[in-house]
Symmetry: C2
Subunit: 378 residues, 2 copies
């Protein structure tokens, strides 16, 4: 499938579709109703919670199902701001997703302290960073970046936060389904994620809540989700989300090395056929960028022209984060990664899935070469 | 189908299922992506917004898609509290859904003024009520009650609010799909609703926002929903919701009189075969209760025993609001309707759908008679 915009969204996976339809047929009742059919839905919902928890090493009662990572970011930031010592700051990775940045802006206003971008594992042990996070209401650093694929060393960040006794919020939206979820919940106090990035339906996701966060909620209302989120539980979508993640975890994770090779082949081909093309993060070891993501800085022409040329040829790629579209201005992520402002409008994000074949990568490279020719032609 | 708990949730309607699957196959891309496929989703999303707006006489730009009425209530209350004059109160119908009551409690705390329950159309013109709502930050009265089916005279409430220059928030969750949506958006400044109550999927709904509410949002994040709600739009669920509501509006609304007759037949049968049974709101004209809802006060035995007996016979009914389950205590709605506290534990809610046949009502009455016998047997 010549679709290379998986970091924006993926099509529904077959297992998720099947789980959703089965739930709509057999387990559609309101879990709070007093009938036996409703009790079956209630049990299935708690079984889904247990399965999801097991995939990320959480306890089931730490999982709160919601509508996705944006709702999650907002609810977690609101809770952190309420729980914080007066005047406490939040320490933020400047390349976070807009949902984390905007929520932090709303609830912490001028109490944001910016961390350096793309901090390596060893740097999380330096005194400089320790002083940055000391006394913070929270530290927010995503597991993997949506625009560049850059992987943040969440285990080391978690250790530094633990030492500093500061809660760690980790946006795992781009990580889950692409790399193993095991250990995530034990490292990060708070996790947020969206199902549609890993083959689940849109409009569903979850928060893993911290210990001692009994008063956390997404919005007031009924006693659903153990009091953490009012509103009728969307069991069909939850079942589909868990099915998609279980499938990815069970069948895919061992393929990472191969996929890194395929991407490397693509990168070599592009740099050879379109001289002057740069790869954001090209100096990093390849496995420090998600195996599915490449952000290219083309040597000339606005990214929109490249996207249109590729689109004509049946290849869907992106100019960057879909969630940042409509906000205008250059990418804050690329700025944080020190991409010069004049180069940012030439950035193209290519993001694959487990279903993407080696041949797909090869034909995409060919399409890029054709696009380059078309853009040079008079 | 012997399912009589539609006010808790309905199964997915065939048109909604078809619309959802079609969207998952053909229009699953992220509407914010820069490709032609994404532009098609964007256009389809705006077309869905126009269709939904037309069904309730709103303008498309007043429609904000979200995860349902609970998210809606929370976001609207937060906005109203921010926009209110310092110290301004909110005037609340005491029989509102928990999502409205709890959100009001959170954002208005001790600035809640309780309206009398079940106010008739003419009473909304009295000086007493005018003084209750005068100077309020908002008035919240649902269109139809989820537990009793009681219909609030929203046109008259809207007129009274307009005269008092107070915003009117109307929870239309139980109204939509059961009675015509036309005129709703012109009457109420704010509307909230959930798709799964009218045959759409769970986890999707909408807010109709007031004029001059440009700063309204559900949560911070990307610029989606014209800036009113961050997060990837759930187009498949939105398409399914709109399909379900269009279907109900186009094919069903003329059937109300017939359905009122079928319910009346059921009510007569129950009162005859189980003497002492009372119907909540029995003194009202039948059309002032939603045609699909009956709340019965059984002459003896806890409602849970009746529900279990009926469940055994294949009939799903409810003890009341699913969203209030787990909160404990007697129903606040029945208390507001002056049902004595000792009678409330004997309340059973029966709620049908357009698919419920006359025969379904008749067999339910028979099942009640059998349940009564079983409960009397030694």
């Amino acid at each position: 499938m010549p679709y290379f915009d998986h970091n924006a969204t993926s099509p529904l996976s077959p297992v998720a579709r099947e789980a959703w339809l089965r739930a709509q047929d057999e387990l559609w009742q309101n879990p709070s109703s007093p009938t036996r059919a409703a009790a079956r839905v209630r049990n299935a919902l708690e079984a889904a919670r247990e399965k999801l928890a097991a995939l990320i090493d959480a306890r089931p009662e730490q999982i709160v199902f919601n509508s996705g990572a944006t709702e999650g970011a907002s609810a977690v930031m609101a809770w952190l701001a309420r729980a914080a010592a007066p005047g406490a700051h939040i320490a933020l990775n400047p390349a976070e997703h807009p949902c984390v940045l905007e929520s932090a802006g709303r609830f912490f206003a001028n109490r944001i302290r910016w961390l350096p971008a793309a901090v390596s594992a060893s740097e999380w042990e330096t005194e400089n960073l320790k002083s940055q996070i000391s006394g913070a209401a929270a530290v927010a650093v995503m597991a993997a970046n949506n625009e560049t694929g850059f992987i943040h060393p969440w285990r080391e960040i978690a250790a530094a936060c633990r030492d500093a006794r500061v809660p760690y919020l980790c946006d795992a939206t781009q990580w889950l389904g692409k790399l193993p979820g095991s250990g995530l919940a034990q490292s990060a106090d708070w996790l947020i994620a969206s199902a549609h990035k890993f083959g689940g339906p849109k409009g569903v996701g979850f928060v893993k809540i911290a210990d001692q966060a009994e008063s956390f909620d997404s919005h007031a209302g009924g006693a659903q989700e153990h009091g953490h989120r009012g509103g009728t539980e969307n069991y069909p979508a939850i079942a589909a989300m868990v099915a998609a993640l279980e499938d990815a975890e069970a069948r895919r994770m061992h393929l990472e090395t191969e996929r890194l090779r395929w991407r490397a082949g693509f990168e070599r081909a592009i740099v050879q056929t379109i001289p002057g093309t740069q790869i954001v993060g090209q100096n990093l070891p390849p496995e420090e960028r998600l195996w599915n993501t490449v952000t290219l800085l083309m040597p000339r022409e606005d990214n929109t022209r490249w996207v249109a040329q590729l689109d004509k040829r049946g290849f869907q790629v992106s100019t960057g984060s879909a969630c940042a579209t409509g906000k205008g201005g250059p990418s804050h992520v690329l700025a944080a990664m020190r991409v010069p402002p004049d180069a940012a409008p030439r950035a193209i994000r290519v993001s694959s899935s487990w279903e993407t074949s080696r041949e797909d990568w090869q034909t995409l490279a060919t399409a890029f070469a054709e696009a380059a020719q078309a853009l040079h032609a008079p």
